[in-house]
Symmetry: C3
Subunit: 325 residues, 3 copies
Amino acid sequence: MVVRCFKAEEDRRPWHTLPLKHVIESQQFDKGSLDLIFRTAQEMEAVQRQTDAAHQLDGYIMSTLFYEPSTRTRLSFESAMARLGGTVLSTESAGQYSSAAKGETLEDTIRTVEGYSDCIVLRHFQAGSAKIAASVASVPVISAGDGPGQHPTQALLDVYTIKRELGRLDNLTVALVGDLANGRTARSLAYLLSMYAGVRLVFVAPHVVAMGDDIKAFLTARGVEWAEAEDLAEVAAEADVLYQTRIQKERFQDRPEDYERAQGKYIIDSATMQALPKSSVVMHPLPRVDEIRPEVDADPRAAYFRQAHNGLFIRMALLKLALVG
Amino acid sequence: MVVRCFKAEEDRRPWHTLPLKHVIESQQFDKGSLDLIFRTAQEMEAVQRQTDAAHQLDGYIMSTLFYEPSTRTRLSFESAMARLGGTVLSTESAGQYSSAAKGETLEDTIRTVEGYSDCIVLRHFQAGSAKIAASVASVPVISAGDGPGQHPTQALLDVYTIKRELGRLDNLTVALVGDLANGRTARSLAYLLSMYAGVRLVFVAPHVVAMGDDIKAFLTARGVEWAEAEDLAEVAAEADVLYQTRIQKERFQDRPEDYERAQGKYIIDSATMQALPKSSVVMHPLPRVDEIRPEVDADPRAAYFRQAHNGLFIRMALLKLALVG
Amino acid sequence: MVVRCFKAEEDRRPWHTLPLKHVIESQQFDKGSLDLIFRTAQEMEAVQRQTDAAHQLDGYIMSTLFYEPSTRTRLSFESAMARLGGTVLSTESAGQYSSAAKGETLEDTIRTVEGYSDCIVLRHFQAGSAKIAASVASVPVISAGDGPGQHPTQALLDVYTIKRELGRLDNLTVALVGDLANGRTARSLAYLLSMYAGVRLVFVAPHVVAMGDDIKAFLTARGVEWAEAEDLAEVAAEADVLYQTRIQKERFQDRPEDYERAQGKYIIDSATMQALPKSSVVMHPLPRVDEIRPEVDADPRAAYFRQAHNGLFIRMALLKLALVG
């Protein structure tokens, strides 16, 4: 199955200058295309209501096809479309309601829905489904996460946030904390950061949810320095980015004790913040439960809500690039 | 927890001339602010499609965050926003789908969603949640009901309807009928009407769902005349407003017999209408089951569908006041 | 119950030149009104983004009130409204969420929702409900299917597709295949085609889901030639239109064996396509399961996705005719 994530791939222009088509996985981006997306996202931050810029997607229709509910991600995409003047057709729970329940294939659904909209934002519970959708769609397909697979717009907004907060993507020590086995975000972030020079990754995870060997092997092959550590305060002391993730209770259904042990192990609280350098930031893909204590929220280094808001600008940028270039 | 329902509360201007911020509870309004809202609602009745007035909220985005489904209230808010040119991001069932299911606090959800929209309409199953939301939000929060707590826009549209139907809010006999224990609307209405001179309230309720002592004490303290009565026809004969409410079956789950007895006790039918004065009106917050017989619908004094439509104008007014002043 | 599907029915103008009001059932259309709808649909195919034509319904609001979920049909209507500049208020699952759960009648719901929108698209699980809704509504009601009853916009888009694909509606052999007992679409199509000269219908169905005697009697009375057949390839060889339908598993809940037998009996595959004349087309209301093999999709005579897209133009036409004439 060949999926063209950029149009006209036979074109001689460098990859990252080609018009974006689908957004499917972190691997489709190189430094050049990231740079284009980030510059566009920064333009998007400046879009003012009732100006021409706020009407760039007038008359365009986006369908959000969510087979797995995710209110946060859906609203972020829908807001992005609305901020540029576009219209949204929304499906909160396609799995339950759509023709899927009658046995229709995803391919058939996409072939129908592409007749109603100019792009499709797809959230699915099965890894690989975004790629399947893109392989039949004549309109851009933007993945909003496909189960245990990829969540490329989250990865993009994470990297964008580091750049916005710290001003650079090179020469960084990034500590990834929490559920590194199941969390797509930590894995995707590791992938994207591997493109930048002087990046050092430190993994701080309970044993039951340690970072997978595949990512470690990948980093080693790419010459990226990485380490595993157990003492969160020690790691915090030398981190530029402390990226916390939620231990996903839903992954421990038969093992409540394991969950309890993993959940309470690495908590970011005021003690952690005291160890963290002044110029560093704390990030989290949200939602959080209590792996970052509320007392941290008022700290200017707590970047997680700004990070969530950056998702809006990244998605505005992707929609603009995919629909009008 | 301090919630500023009007902006710039240190301002020296009288309270009701200050710009509205949040809409949380009936108690935040005085006669002056009610007057402003009602005048604005009346302007809203005159908004014509495809005129400048119909574009006052162009480029503004409203999120409807409904943790408890309520199609009627949601559509009313969404229509209000649309009639003024605004855009809606909709969540029909946030409780089931959103990050709440993963353990996220309401505060965190609000801090995220405020990045996607210019105001948030919140429906929640827990009393006090609108206040919690408003305490962290940088954008206006408008409560669309918080469980057994308040439903301020319903209270506003009820009072507005009385004013539109009868031309005044002073010197009225208002009979509240049905479930006065659980119905938020009857309680809120009693509260708001207590601000007007010469208002007399008569409570007609089955014993199991009688009006609470707190409201009675409040009315007595405010010097508002009130009474309890058992004979609906007798009460109707001297009422300016006959405000019927539904006996909420969902509150009687273990006591079906109590429900049956309460449900059938006070029904408005043509006999009631014959007792009711010509210049009076029948109101109901809807939905009704059969506590008002369909035969009453064609009577010009049956104001309940007009009342529902007034909800649109009240919500247009609140959105305008909160977003553009 | 009298439902006026066209405005001013006492008007002396021929029926099909009167402005459309409600869309309730196939029987409300004659050849003249079909012609008007099809001409308008063809205009709709030419509507370009950001032109005046794309703003014909600016400021109009459509509510989609779906008591039975149907993502495909809902998105098609919502896209149609958006393509003409209108706004959509959406309810994906009114049965579960709305006041219906509290015992409200459909009539009351309609009387409320008509205050929020300029037209109502209703999908309901009960036959006859569209008619009930239209009988109380002051705004146009467009049926998006009422249970085992009618699905008039599907019937219209089917006939429109035949006209677009073959250039005519007269002198056609149309083979209806699959579940002809439960499928509304086959029945409605038979009804509408009976208006045209020289149409011949052939029914190819497993015994358990054969075409109903009422339709056969109706066709005989109208002088329309019809036949039943068992050999799909033989039928295909003389068909202008091969209209396949899905065997609806949900109708065979207690009889899984009957389902299996019926399901596998008439499959369209490359062998069928070899028998089918070059100028013929294969249609399907979708979703399909595997009654048309994926290998058929690339054949230019496979019209079913074009058929789905035609639904957009038919619905744009109906909304335009009902709202602005």
